[in-house]
């Protein structure tokens, strides 16, 4: 095998310019793919992190039917006493869960005593919430990141529109499940940066305040946000918890709970899918570049060396060895193109990071791109290039191996 490689490499070096051109073409393709994968992938992962770690959590559990009518924030769809107990018992038993946080979602009127506006509120247990969505405190632009009973974190747009600042007194009025209206005075503890996605423009109050505002006598929860120890386990865990909760039925024999992971709750998932689709097509283009360039150069190599093929076939070289000789040439070009492409690609990603490119995503301004490419991506792209190089060499190599020596020797 070593000798086949030696002959293949020498044949490649025999046509230096052509080999260099083909390898360069592959290199450029690999560099583009790596640069795209690193930028798009990093952007995607960063946004998924923002969506899950500052608002939604990795997945959520609701009472069956809540998500379908989430726009109206129906209080009559809250989970109550027995169901909460069952759910928390199941969640506590799952080793994959890092933390979970109960929430009450409600709509109300927000007043600064001179103006009134509508507001969507998420009531939380701050300690559990900040553990489940750890980037949430980071969204507080002004004031305190703490949320004590009697205080409210309000969204930036509302604060700006109603000229409210931390320390101001405000009133929130809400209607409870029975239809009675109640109001409660809060002190604005902080102003929150808006975020793209559901809950991105919500205000936050303490769970105890929500119970008081809504005059809830028993414990109620609209949703549980869950954070996993390993985000990579999300799909498997969703399936597992879905299966466990499906067994919990109400007196009518219907499921009590429903599970949604972030993909089903955030519109950003469609953008993430689009990024994946674009990445796929970019990779497809790389495959086309490698396939066409290697096949072209190998067809030429076979054509130029017909007499040599005739000679080695005449002196007894078996067809399989002749095939290997040409396939190895394609393989070597693929390896060289992929390796140089990997090195240049990593260099470009490093340079991109030096420039600290910033971008906006929805309401979030000035996010700094931290491009990065994983070893798995590099390996996958390199393997694709090498495999495609071998496949592209097969047809010309097969043709060479099937040549009749007598005809090949006559070739001029």
């Amino acid at each position: 095998m070593g000798n086949l490689f030696k002959i293949a490499i020498r044949n490649l070096l025999r046509y230096k310019r052509r080999t260099l051109l083909t390898a360069s073409l592959i290199t450029v393709g690999v560099v583009f793919v790596l640069a795209f994968v690193s930028v798009a992938g990093t952007f995607k992962n960063m946004m998924i992190g923002q969506v899950t770690d500052s608002m939604i959590g990795h997945l959520q559990v609701h009472r069956k039917g809540f998500v379908a009518s989430i726009e109206t924030l129906p209080l009559n769809m809250n989970l109550k006493g027995g169901a909460i107990g069952k759910l928390e018992k199941i969640l506590d038993a799952q080793p994959e869960i890092e933390s979970y946080s109960p929430r009450i979602k409600l709509g109300g009127m927000f007043s600064n005593f001179t103006e009134t506006s509508s507001i969507r509120i998420t009531a939380i247990d701050p300690a559990r919430e900040f553990k489940t969505v750890p980037l949430l405190p980071g969204r507080v632009m002004e004031g305190s990141k703490e949320l004590k009973p009697g205080s409210i974190l309000i969204p930036e747009l509302l604060a700006r529109g109603m000229k409210v600042k931390p320390g101001d007194a405000v009133v929130v009025v809400a209607t409870n499940a029975e239809g009675s209206v109640n109001g409660k005075q809060f002190v604005v503890s902080g102003v929150m940066e808006s975020a793209t996605g559901p809950g991105g423009r919500d205000g936050y109050i303490h769970l105890d305040d929500a119970r008081e505002l809504l005059r809830l006598e028993d414990k109620q929860v609209s949703e549980y946000a869950i954070r996993l120890k390993d985000f990579g386990e999300l799909a498997a865990f969703s399936k597992k918890i879905d299966g466990l909760l499906a067994k919990e039925l109400n007196p009518q024999g219907k499921p009590i709970f429903e599970v949604h992971n972030w993909e089903k709750l955030s519109p950003f998932f469609n953008i993430a899918r689009m990024i994946d689709l674009m990445t796929f097509f970019i990779k497809l283009m790389l495959i086309a570049i490698v396939l066409i360039s290697i096949m072209n150069v190998m067809i030429m190599a076979v054509y130029e060396r017909i007499r040599e093929i005739g000679t080695i076939a005449a002196i007894g070289t078996l067809p399989g060895k002749i095939l290997s000789m040409f396939v190895i040439e394609g393989f070597c070009m693929g390896v060289v193109g992929a390796l140089i492409g990997d090195l240049v690609g990593i260099g470009i990603v490093w340079i991109l990071n030096l420039f600290k490119i910033s971008y906006n995503f929805g309401m979030q301004k000035g996010l700094v791109l931290q491009a990065g490419v994983s070893a798995a991506d590099i390996l996958m792209i390199s393997a694709t290039v090498i495999i495609v190089s071998v496949i592209a060499s097969l047809q010309p190599a097969f043709k060479a191996s099937r040549m009749e020596p007598i005809q090949a020797l006559r070739h001029t």
Partner: protein, 237 residues
């Protein structure tokens, strides 16, 4: 027992819609360790006959056995294996591999065709390099040596596998007169040393005189055989 036995060999080619008979009922036998030449004008069928003996082509009719094997019955892969084991080739245009050195060109059949240990390879190649007088050129590439030197390398390459038969189609056609003689004498010397049968085709009358057995071909027919004596012998039937 004859090394080569041909009985009523015919070879027909289809050129467009016309069938061309390159060989018409050729029969002969060649004994081991012979130094044989096929002579005749262009188009007489010399190359066709060498191609058939060399298992590069198959006869249209008749039987041809080489070293006891009916070469017409060999499949593609078996034919290649048979060539690699039994036959050495010397080509008119030398046909050395340009990416390999002189040493590597001679070593090639031992590496790629036969599985020979590195030590034995080195011994055989080094000995043959000395035999053909190319030991001092071993690391040169084919484009760095003369035509005569290339053909000496080709002779060594043909002999390195210790074949029973070496076929040379017009081996001196691209060489000047002195070099041609030198190559023929080298082939004869190798025949004496290794007891290998050499068969070469030529239309150079002066070179023909160096052969011990001469078969004359005309219009695809064997027109005569001249045996000048020597180690081996042939016989037209």
């Amino acid at each position: 027992m004859a090394l080569i036995s041909a009985k009523q060999i015919t070879k027909e080619y289809q050129v467009g819609e016309v069938a061309v008979q390159a060989l018409r009922g050729v029969s002969f036998e060649i004994e081991p360790a012979s130094f044989v030449s096929f002579v005749g004008p262009s188009g007489s069928g010399k190359t066709t006959l060498l191609n058939l003996i060399g298992c590069l082509d198959k006869p249209t009719a008749g039987t041809l056995t080489v070293d006891g094997t009916d070469v017409a019955s060999l499949e593609r892969k078996a034919s290649a294996a048979f060539r690699g084991k039994t036959i050495g080739f010397i080509f008119q245009d030398f046909n050395l591999l340009p990416v390999l050195t002189v040493y590597e060109n001679i070593e090639y059949p031992l590496l790629m065709v036969q599985k020979v240990s590195p030590r034995e390879r080195q011994e055989r190649v080094t000995a043959l390099l000395a035999d053909v007088g190319m030991a001092d050129q071993r690391d040169k590439r084919p484009d760095q040596i003369s035509g005569g030197q290339k053909q000496r390398v080709a002779v060594a390459r043909a002999l390195v596998t210790s074949p029973k038969l070496v076929l040379a189609d017009e081996p001196t056609a691209n060489l000047d007169h002195d070099t041609a003689y030198m190559v023929i004498n080298l082939m004869k010397k190798m025949r004496d040393e290794f007891k290998t049968t050499f068969i070469f085709s030529t239309h150079d009358q002066k070179i023909v005189g160096e052969a011990e057995i001469i078969f004359t071909l005309e219009d695809g027919k064997l027109n005569g055989e001249k045996n000048k004596g020597g180690n081996g012998h042939g016989q037209s039937l």
